[in-house]
Amino acid sequence: MSVNTPATPGGAPNASLRPLRKPRRDWMGLLYVAPALALVLVFFLVPLGMTAWMSLHNWPLIGVPRWIGFANYRALWNDINFWNALAFTIRYTIAATIGLMLVGFALALLVEKPRPFAGFYRTAFFLPVVIGFASASLLWSWLSNVDSGLFSPLAEALGLTDGRLNLLATFAPAFWSVTAMVIWKMAGFYMVILMSGLHSIPADFTEAARIDGASALQRFRFITLPLVRRPFALALILCVSGSMLAFDQFYIILAGGPQNKTITAVYWIFSQSFVSFRLGYGAALSMVLLAILVVLSVIQLRLLGDKETAR
């Protein structure tokens, strides 16, 4: 082989070799992607099918599953706890998405241009992103603790509250405390995504507009905003689907409390499946959540009118 090939500089002999080699190479390609496909098959496709199958059964942890048709879905329709959890999840998603997009975009605008120390600021804003949600939640549960934490004593010292206010005892402060944690932890992430959009705007656009006499505000409104739509769409989809699946922070910081008002959709699925061990019912809940997420993604893609970002 190695003796032959240098002797054939033209295309003709090579071309005659190719049909011989091709069938083998076909299988080679499949061989290379086989491990990835096997994992996706066993740990994604099969479980996805099983979720649909299980949702039609009464499926206890121990014992024989029993076919019950759509009874789980009928039960779900009347499950006020699930709808409350879903309503709470949507409320949290709206708050977190608005907060993250605004803060992320503000941070991106702040450090977008290469100035001295801009890199340092970017890194500082981004650091909370790399610590996990569980770490951040545990850290926040300490900071929000009424006795040994930061917020309650600080508010008292600043004279904002009379005495110590237990942030986690009532719904509104507990909700906003967790939302603040998520904004603190994730704003840097959206900053980077939106910044990559700002950087992809050609400098001549803004330059030309400046020469034509457009003010900074006009340049922002008519050049920056329309051109960051793609990364904005991506950021929005990531943010909404991520928030709809929130679990760690509400489980760790609030344990669903106060008065079970902060149970998210995933939390409810978790408690039905792995606390009450109603696996079939949990699967039915999962199917509904899955459908909602797919519909949400499609709607967002349509609204932002960009098929490319679907990726």
């Binding site: 290379y32 996706v40 479980p47 979720t51 770490s135 995504i193 950021a235």
Partner: protein, 293 residues
């Protein structure tokens, strides 16, 4: 006379602009510093608090009296000891990173360089897994691991984490291989380097930045993942750090050892921060690869 009168007029505009620029610069740095402080404060506070003895906990968040490793010591007495759980987490994270890199390098190479039946279907299938949250297929995963005899094992958790990393990693590696000119591989083949050896010795160094990004994300995500570990690991000795420290936070008889929690949070946090600071370039590249493409 006329000269001296016009001189201030001609210089005043640039001078004013320079003054404005300086004002902007000061404003920029004041804002930047304040916001940076806000973002770094929680991390710094927990780091400091993790070394503060419980007796000093009431003395304010900035007190530095009697700092020591007492909190970490008490964490070592919890269950099988913090080092054991850190070992669990390290095993899961490293195994996930290595396996993800191997699987996605092969898959990326296959998708980039070969033609085979159902190629585009397979690629779309792998990428589409990103649309379905793993939270919704957790119950069957639990049952499948049990069928495979992997229930309550760290290896089972690793396989699931690797699958979760695949859409990002395969996409990333396919693009990395696409960016390598075909001529380089041709030249290697003419020199007699083919197949796996060509992939490892010729292509490997060229796609190395992609490999680092993929490995880094896999490590960090596996190190930090909470829900799957909480559900799939039932034996306390198998816990990873996030599950363990959450158990520590739940406390004994209603009292919470916040010192131990702070130490646990620090142990979880520090590797992530160091890895990110060391490999920041690769992290950001991995993050923006999806946004730009």
């Amino acid at each position: 006379m006329t000269m001296t009168a016009t001189l201030p007029v001609t210089t005043s505009a640039p001078a004013r602009r320079r003054g404005n620029a300086r004002l902007y610069r000061v404003l920029f740095h004041v804002t930047g510093l304040l916001v940076a402080l806000l973002f770094l404060a929680p991390i710094a506070l927990v780091l400091l608090a993790s070394f503060r003895p419980p007796a000093m906990a009431g003395h304010g968040l900035l007190s530095v009296q009697g700092l020591g490793f007492g909190n970490y010591g008490r964490l070592e007495d919890f269950g099988a000891g913090i080092l054991h759980y850190a070992g669990n987490s390290l095993f899961v994270a490293v195994a996930t990173a290595i396996l993800t890199v191997v699987v996605s390098v092969f898959a990326g190479y296959g998708f980039s360089r070969f033609r085979f039946p159902f190629k585009s279907v397979a690629f779309v299938l792998i990428l589409s897994t990103i649309m379905v949250p793993f939270q919704s297929i957790l119950t069957p995963l639990f049952l499948i691991l049990a069928k495979l005899g992997l229930q309550n094992t760290l290896s089972g958790l690793v396989l699931i984490y690797v699958t979760l990393q695949l859409p990002f990693s395969v996409f990333m590696m396919r693009n990395a291989f696409d960016a390598v000119p075909k001529e380089i591989e041709e030249a290697a083949r003419i020199d007699g380097v083919k197949g796996l050896r060509s992939l490892i010795y010729v292509m490997g160094p060229l796609v190395f930045p992609g490999i680092v990004s993929v490995g880094l994300f896999a490590f960090l995500n596996a190190w930090n993942e909470f829900l799957a570990a909480l559900v799939l690991l039932t034996d306390q000795d198998r816990y990873t750090l996030p599950v363990l420290v959450t158990a520590v936070r739940s406390g004994h008889y209603g009292s919470v050892d916040w010192g131990a929690v702070q130490a646990g949070v620090t142990v979880m946090m520090i590797p992530c921060l160091l890895l990110f600071l060391a490999l920041q370039r690769y992290y950001i590249r991995g993050l923006t690869a999806g946004a730009v493409k």
